[in-house]
Symmetry: C2
Subunit: 212 residues, 2 copies
DNA sequence: TTTATAAAACCGACCAGACGGTTTGTAAAG
DNA sequence: CTTTACAAACCGTCTGGTCGGTTTTATAAA
């Protein structure tokens, strides 16, 4: 077998094992020995691919982020033309995806937070940029943030096992969050922001797109 | 000093120390030795008050839950008469309180989840009962759930350090979540609840059914 | 009030196992 | 023959938990 793909396979096995462990036993049980056991590799093998445990977490985080990055990009490409607020739509759909997929990125996030809280710097920064984009394009930025927060709440509460909602109800709520038509009734034009953006005509911020 | 209060003081010191450690160093750094160091007690002293580490976590969880239980009861007593949906209002206010207070219950939750995920059984059950009450009283149960989810999203995202919102914005969003008047525009009469006695929950709700 | 006794709170040394990480050795790929 | 991928034994430290002993409080007889 090719050397590169051999490494690739091992790295993959280790990361899959890590996710399985976190999901099954909780983040506190994620140890290098456990990863070795679960993946079939020896501890030496794991340590050859990742020099330190933090490197494992980092790789895990990056892999999950890349996955959702891809999902996000695809979704964005599909709705950019049709949606009035493509960034919000994309983010909502991505969070739904994360909530649906069992080996969620959220698990990696929790594990990272446990081991080394400042590993979250990367995801945080990315998330913040997205939030900024959402607010830029929104007619009512606060409402957009609340829709985003609603999605996060659904995701995290189900991750923490605190959601009383069935799968169906979950999907229904996400669908409602995503449906712009259901939120148009109570928009508040965000006077503060309109005033801040200089000579902007006061009313409809939704028509003002980001740099075209 | 009285014997009972001596114990009380020690238990308190240990729990305070635990919260401080979690907040400062992350849940992964919460060890019995660390608690002993931080609290000034000896390890033996800590182990006398709590026979096991799990007992510490459990006590921590229960203390925080009791605190918010009290807040919740007080708030409920104040708004029960005036609010159309006192359960929702109370829950939103409680979550805001949790998000505001620095030594949040959420920290205890995360720590418990790390150490022993099934410790979350108690909070989960309580939460579920509340959610049920919220849905009972709501004209549009799904919307109520989304407002709740929004609050949870704000809380948890700020807990994870992923909130781009300032304190002021945070407060503003919570206020908006709490203000019934801002959500009456798009209520849907909850066909699900009315028709639920049948069998089909899953109808594609995308078609908007607004109410006057 | 004093004194004898118990019970509870507390200490700090100690232990077995688990932890992250290193080292040494070997087989496969280049 | 050199480099890379992996294995397995190993190391020092940390972890949750135990244990024997000391101090403080509680009880009550003298």
């Amino acid at each position: 077998m090719d050397n590169a793909t051999r490494s690739e396979r091992s790295r993959n096995a280790a990361l899959e094992a890590a996710i399985a462990i976190i999901a099954r036993d909780g983040p506190g049980r994620l140890t290098l020995d456990a990863i070795a056991r679960e993946s079939g590799l020896s501890k030496g093998g794991v340590m050859h691919q990742f020099r330190t445990k933090e490197a494992v977490l980092k790789a895990l985080l990056e892999r999950q982020m890349a996955h959702f990055e891809e999902f996000s990009t695809d979704y964005m490409a599909r709705v950019r033309a049709t949606s009035a607020n493509p960034n919000l739509a994309t983010q909502l759909a991505t969070v739904r995806e994360a909530a649906t997929s069992p080996n969620s990125a959220a698990l990696a996030l929790v594990a990272a937070m446990v081991e080394n809280p400042n590993l979250m710097a990367l995801p945080r920064e990315r998330e913040m940029r997205r939030m900024a984009a959402i607010r830029e394009e929104a007619a009512d930025p606060d409402l957009a943030m609340l829709r985003w927060a609603g999605a996060m709440g659904l995701l995290l509460s189900s991750l923490f096992g605190m959601s009383p909602l069935s799968k169906d109800e979950h999907q229904r709520l996400f669908a409602r969050l995503l449906d712009d038509a259901q939120w148009t009734g109570l928009e508040r034009p965000a006077a503060s922001r309109a005033a801040k953006s200089g000579a902007a005509p006061g009313a409809k911020a939704a028509t003002r797109r980001k740099r075209a």
